[in-house]
């Protein structure tokens, strides 16, 4: 995995809510062009880690680099100085803290989906995807209002149309997004994320609530879009089949801390992982 430079580099990320360590000293690398998975049992802190990367939360400590650029960086400050229980409290203390908002991070090229689908409920399928193109459009509020951006708007619409065709969603273009069946909503959410032209796609439990057949389709779909859009994919999942099938490399966390990392075969046979999932027997 060292032959390619990592797109996403996470170093000593710690997220502490009051006295609870949701994520503890997590470090990982997501190399370009690969599919990397972060797995763990329910409540292990996977989504929190995602939220730290995408700027929804400001991590208590740690660094996130995207394509070599420090994107999020923090060290325990203010009240947290006393409360902090994690390691490496001083590691980043000498660098200024950076905490960009999620929209800035998306602009840099990271797009994400959500565990509990968050589509824009009053909009049609088409508008959901079109709206995601807003950020990349070359326009301002005046040119948009007075239609001097007509070319740009036309381009956005055409691209959206094309994206819908590629994702097999065209037949639903004028339907309300929330009226689609669950599986399609998931796919639409991915399509919407793709519309922001990301380099890195973060998928938060994309297979949640899907049956085995849908999951298999999804696996193929993820691999397909990675190729077509030249993406790097980082996903959270506890659907083992899917993860084992498509991942190039897997990180396992439990109670916020990493317990294992490796290629699928290694993880499959790792005792700690099995314990974490099945629970350690008491005797």
């Amino acid at each position: 995995m060292s032959e390619k430079k990592p797109v996403l580099h996470v170093e000593n990320i710690t997220m502490q809510f009051g006295g609870v360590m949701a994520v503890n000293d997590l470090s990982l690398d997501v190399p370009e062009g690969q599919i990397i998975a972060l797995i763990g049992p329910n409540g292990a802190g996977k989504t929190t880690a995602f939220n730290c990367i995408t700027g929804v939360y400001e991590p208590t400590n740690g660094l996130v680099e995207f394509c070599g650029l420090p994107m999020v960086r923090n060290h325990p400050r203010g009240k947290m100085k006393k409360l902090y229980q994690g390691k490496d409290a001083d590691k980043y203390a000498h660098d200024p803290a950076i905490a960009p908002t999620p929209d800035r991070i998306t602009e840099l090229g990271i797009a994400r989906t959500f565990q509990n689908i968050r589509l824009w409920k009053s909009m049609t399928v088409f508008d959901n995807v079109l709206t995601a193109k807003h950020m990349r459009a070359d326009q301002n509020v005046f040119s948009a209002t007075f239609r001097t951006n007509a070319k740009e708007e036309k381009r956005m619409r055409a691209e959206t149309e094309a994206l819908l065709v590629e994702q097999n969603l065209l037949q639903y273009r004028d339907e309300l997004a929330v009226s689609l069946p669950y599986g399609l909503q998931r796919r639409l959410e991915i399509a919407r994320a793709l519309a922001t032209s990301p380099k890195l796609l973060l998928l938060d439990e994309p297979a949640a609530g899907m049956n085995p057949q849908e999951t298999a389709e999804l696996a193929a779909f993820i691999q397909q879009i990675r190729k077509e859009y030249d993406l790097t994919v980082f996903l959270i999942e506890h659907h083992m089949d899917l993860v084992m099938q498509i991942s190039d490399y897997i990180y396992v966390i439990d109670f916020g801390s990493e317990i294992a990392r490796g290629v699928p075969q290694e993880i499959q046979n790792d005792q700690r992982v099995i314990d974490a999932y099945l629970g350690v027997s008491e005797e």
Binding site: T47, N51, V56, F114, Q115
Partner: protein, 297 residues
């Protein structure tokens, strides 16, 4: 120093008294908000109607009947408003319910206007409460002294009620999670009704104290105290009863101190209330005791 206190005691006294009255109204706002997430704009007008009811009742019957009867009628009014104007909209968008509250405000004010003819009604003198007392350098009415004490007593009783009784527990459960408590078999309608009953009962007592101090009832009498009480509730963190009470006292006292600062300041006494509120909100976006809103991603 003592001269300073001598000069400023009246401001402080009226501040505490006004604060107590705001507190009694603010509790109604904050309880309803806690459970229904509804800004019950009509609450200030329920307060005004309580004043009018008292005016009309005392012309017909002695004080010891009309006071409890006023409280009962106000409670019934609150109960009816909830059943007629809010309950049918429970599944409607939040904005609709709030508009319904504004509609009730219009209705109550306009009915009051229609029945009173718009003239200020003079509030009856309640014996003892209306007597003058002298405290240090300040001469004031007994009610000024009684209000904060009664407020604190009532709030304690209310907190006990919410902590100890079954229905109080149900209230806390509903305010934490409306849907789940419904699934847990809590009778949501009776909890909501109870909230309105308590809120309106306290507003009725508040109106007794308020109008004894300021004995003139006009159809818009409720708006300003209502707004101030609402500000107090937000200030303290809407949904929190101690927050509302503390907010009410802070606002009442500050407002009166501003009035004492001199002629160039007095005109800003209301504006100042809002400045204070905005500053608090900027530092603590959900008020002093408000729970931090977490949006689960």
């Amino acid at each position: 120093m003592s001269a300073f206190i001598q000069a400023n005691l009246p401001y402080l006294l009226s501040g505490i008294s006004v604060g107590g009255q705001y507190a009694l109204i603010a509790i109604g706002y904050t309880m309803v908000y806690g459970i229904l997430r509804l800004i019950n704009f009509a609450h200030g007008d329920v307060f005004m109607v309580a004043g009018l009811v008292m005016v009309y009742l005392t012309t017909a019957m002695p004080m010891y009947i009309s006071i409890p009867l006023t409280i009962i009628i106000t409670v019934l009014l609150g109960f009816t408003i909830e059943r007629v104007a809010y309950k049918p909209l429970r599944s409607a968008p939040r904005m609709s319910v709030m508009i319904s509250a504004i509609g009730v405000t219009y209705l109550l004010q306009n009915c009051a206007l229609y029945f009173t003819g718009g003239l200020a009604q003079i509030y009856p003198t309640i014996p003892w409460l209306s007597d003058s007392v002298t405290i240090g350098s300040a001469t004031t009415k007994m009610v000024t002294v009684v209000t904060p004490i009664l407020t604190v007593v009532l709030v304690f009783a209310l907190v006990l009620f919410i902590q100890k009784t079954k229905i109080g527990m149900a209230m806390r459960a509903v305010s934490r999670d409306f849907e789940t408590s419904q699934l847990m078999g809590i009778k949501i309608n009776s909890v909501i009704s109870m909230t309105f009953v308590i809120g309106c009962g306290l507003a009725a007592i508040g109106s007794l104290l308020y109008f004894t101090n300021y004995p003139s009832v006009i159809p818009t009498s409720g708006s300003m105290p209502g707004l101030k009480a609402f500000v107090a509730a937000v200030f303290g963190g809407i949904g929190s009863i101690p927050g509302a009470v503390i907010g009410a006292f802070v606002i009442g006292i500050c407002e009166n101190i501003i009035k004492g600062l001199g002629s160039s300041w007095t005109i800003f006494s209301d504006a100042f209330t809002f400045v204070l509120l905005i500053i608090v909100l900027l530092v603590k976006p959900t008020g002093i005791f408000g729970e931090k809103a977490t949006d689960k991603v």
